[in-house]
Each structure stands twice: as C-alpha cells, then as structure tokens.
C-alpha cells in the first residue's frame, strides 16, 4: 500500500462541485470542524462533526484509517 506521499506543506483543496458530486460516496469522509452548535445549525448532508478542539482526542476514534480520504470544511474561508 506504499504510496508516494507529497510531503509539501501545501494543503490539497477540494472544489465545491467535486464535493457536491461525491456526497453519497462512502469512500469520502466529509468532516465539519466547527463547534457542535454550528454543526447542529446546519451542515453539508452526510458530513460528520469533529470540532477542532476535539481533533487530537477523538480523530483516531472516528477515523481509524490514516489513508482515508477526508474533506475538511469549516464555517467559511477564514
């Protein structure tokens, strides 16, 4: 399973169109990193909640596979 890894500090992005077309896909985990309250207020369908403050403690519990494709989003571009 050795994959060449792009070790750049740059963050790969995902466009809205691609995200929208892959909502149903199980191979993509969509992660909402806003606080629980704003997640409850509204989120992209199928996305799961993992607030930034919980990442270190809970990420491994939620997503065991390190190679899992994950799309991360928050409230806005800031």
């Amino acid at each position: 399973m050795a994959k060449p890894q792009a070790q750049s500090s740059e963050i790969a992005t995902i466009a809205r169109q691609e995200l929208a077309s892959r909502l149903q896909e199980r191979a993509l985990v969509i992660l909402n990193v806003t606080p629980k309250e704003s997640y409850a207020d509204g989120h992209i369908p199928g996305s799961i909640s993992l607030p930034v403050v919980d990442i270190e403690s809970k990420a491994r519990l939620l997503i065991s596979n390190l190679d899992q494709e994950i799309a991360v989003y928050c409230a806005g571009p800031t």
Binding site: A12, A27, V33, T78
Partner: protein
C-alpha cells in the same frame, strides 16, 4: 480554522486530506443542500422511584413530601384553614372553644377571625399566648403544631434542593445527548467502513489480510455501539425521543444489512480469525434481542418495525 484542522489531522498521521476552503458560507451561497439537527432531545425528568416500605405513620408524611412545591404549600394552608374551622366550630355551645383571657371566643364572624389567627400562630409555632385553647382543643393544637412544622420543613427543603435538582437534570441531559451523538457518528463511520470494505471486495475478489483486520476493528466498534443502543432500550431510565431513536435505528438497520451482505461473501467461519467471528457472534446476539415485542417499553409502530427488522437481520448473520 479549516487549515488549522487540516494541520492537526496531518500531525496525527492522516495523509489523504483535502480542504474545502469555501466552507459552509460558500456552500450555502451556491445553493448546496443543508442538513440540520433539530432542537435538542427533550428528556423528561428521570423519575427515580424509591422503594418505599410502608412503615407506620411516616409513609403518610413521605407521601406529602413527594408533592410538588405548589401543591405542598396548598396542603399546608389547607390544613391550617381546616384546623381553624374546627377551633371556630368547637365554640358552638360545648364550652370547649378558644379563650381570650377568661372570655370564650364566640362562633360568630369575629370569632372566625380569631380562630384563623390562632390556627396560623399555632402552625407556625409562634404561640403568642393571647388566645388559648381549652380542654380537648389543646391536644388538637399540639397536633397542628407538629403537622405544621413538618410540612413547612418539607416546603423549605424543596426550595433549597430545587437548584440541585436542576443541576443533576442538566448533567443527565448532557451526558445522554453526548452519548447519542457518539452513537450516531460511530454508526455512520461503521457504515462507511463497511462500504469501503465491500467496494474493495468487489474490485479484488478475495479480501487481503489487511482489509480483514480493518473489518475486525469495524465490527468491534459496531459491537460497542450496539451495546449502547441495547442498554438504551433496556436499561436507561431516560427515554430518548422517538425521532432520535428512529434515526439511530435506521442507521443500525443499514449497518446490519451491509454487514449481512458482507458476511455472506466472507471466507468460511473456520478460516476467520477468532476475533472477527466472536465479534460477529456477539453483534448478532445483541441485535437478536432488539425487536418490537421484546424491549420493555412500547414504541410507535414504525420503530417497532425497524426493531423487528434488526432482529431478522441478526438471525441472518449467524
């Protein structure tokens, strides 16, 4: 915040990360569908039923003490008025009425006021001594004094413990909500993991060891969540609202279906690792106990139906 999150995840070792920069605001702006979680789960006050043995006269007092605050005050005032009426009527000719100094209080309107006044003063154990009971009324007055104090004590303790009760309730509610949240998220992950395994299998035929190991851990997580749901249905003294339960059960059905499908194409039981086969066995045992008729509470027909479905799937899993 998104970038910070990606950084944190990368530090934890995740490699396949992508950032949707626009976030929620961009999504909404371009008309993307939005899902919401409705108002927090409504949970009724957990009623802790105390096993109460009927012990002589005290059980009567406990019965009173269990009343809500407003009723309790009502009982207290009612009792004082009733005693007042008795004091007043006792003056009717029998010569047992209340006395002010050495003159008897008459059973007229004026006397009524005096009787009520005496009743309140007695119940509050003030006892000015300006109005005094005579004869058998003295026993009655002592009795009223005792009852008045006890009930008043209950009122005070209710007032004091009110805040405490609110806090406990709040703690119950938050832990409960947290637990349900976790169940939902984990079921979702189990489902996506099972899906991924299924996809791999479709592509490659037999499953490589690594995938089987992953399946093992997925089944373990699933088992844990199933246990929680099982507890929720059987033991919990807080009842989840039906909507939440419905979504959880629906998730559970989907996960089980996926697992059943997968199971039918797995290598024979003998070739499976011990951990996987025991995991599957306990999943099926737990799910087998979830059906509309066997859970202690009665739920809406739709919920019963999905519970029955869960049992049916559990039997297929063995």
């Amino acid at each position: 915040m998104g970038e910070q999150a990606v950084g944190l995840l990368r530090k934890l070792g995740y490699t396949n990360l992508r950032h949707y920069v626009g976030g929620m605001s961009d999504w909404v702006e371009h008309g993307g569908a939005v899902e919401k979680i409705d108002a927090p789960v409504q949970i009724t006050t957990p009623r802790v039923s105390v096993n109460r043995e009927t012990k002589n006269g005290l059980s009567c007092l406990e019965l009173v003490a269990d009343l809500p605050l407003d009723r309790l005050i009502g009982v207290w005032v009612g009792m004082i008025v009733a005693f007042g009426l008795v004091y007043w009527l006792a003056g009717l000719g029998m010569g047992w009425g209340l006395h002010v100094g050495s003159t008897e209080v008459k059973s007229d309107l004026d006397g009524f006021g005096t009787a009520m006044y005496f009743s309140f003063v007695t119940a509050l154990s003030i006892g000015y001594g300006d109005v005094i009971p005579v004869g058998p009324l003295r026993i009655l007055a002592v009795g009223e004094g005792i009852a008045g104090l006890l009930i008043f004590g209950c009122v005070i303790s209710k007032l004091v413990s009110r805040r405490q009760e609110e806090l406990t309730q709040e703690i119950h509610r938050t832990t409960f909500e947290d637990r349900l949240d976790r169940v939902r998220t984990n079921l979702h992950l189990v489902f996506s993991d099972l899906g991924a395994v299924q996809q791999l299998q479709a592509e490659q035929g037999a499953l490589p060891d690594q995938v089987l190991r992953r399946l093992e851990s997925t089944v373990r997580v699933f088992r844990g969540e199933l246990q929680t749901i099982h507890d929720l249905l059987y033991r919990s003294h807080v009842e989840p609202d039906e909507e939440t339960l419905e979504s959880i059960l629906a998730n559970l059905v989907v996960c089980l279906q996926s697992l059943v499908e997968l199971n039918s194409s797995l290598p024979a039981r003998a070739e499976q690792s011990v951990s996987l086969s025991t995991g599957l066995k306990s999943v099926s045992a737990l799910a087998n106990e979830i059906c509309g008729e066997c859970v202690p509470r009665v739920y809406a027909p739709a919920l019963k139906e999905s519970m029955d479905q869960i049992q049916e799937l559990a039997r297929k899993l063995i």
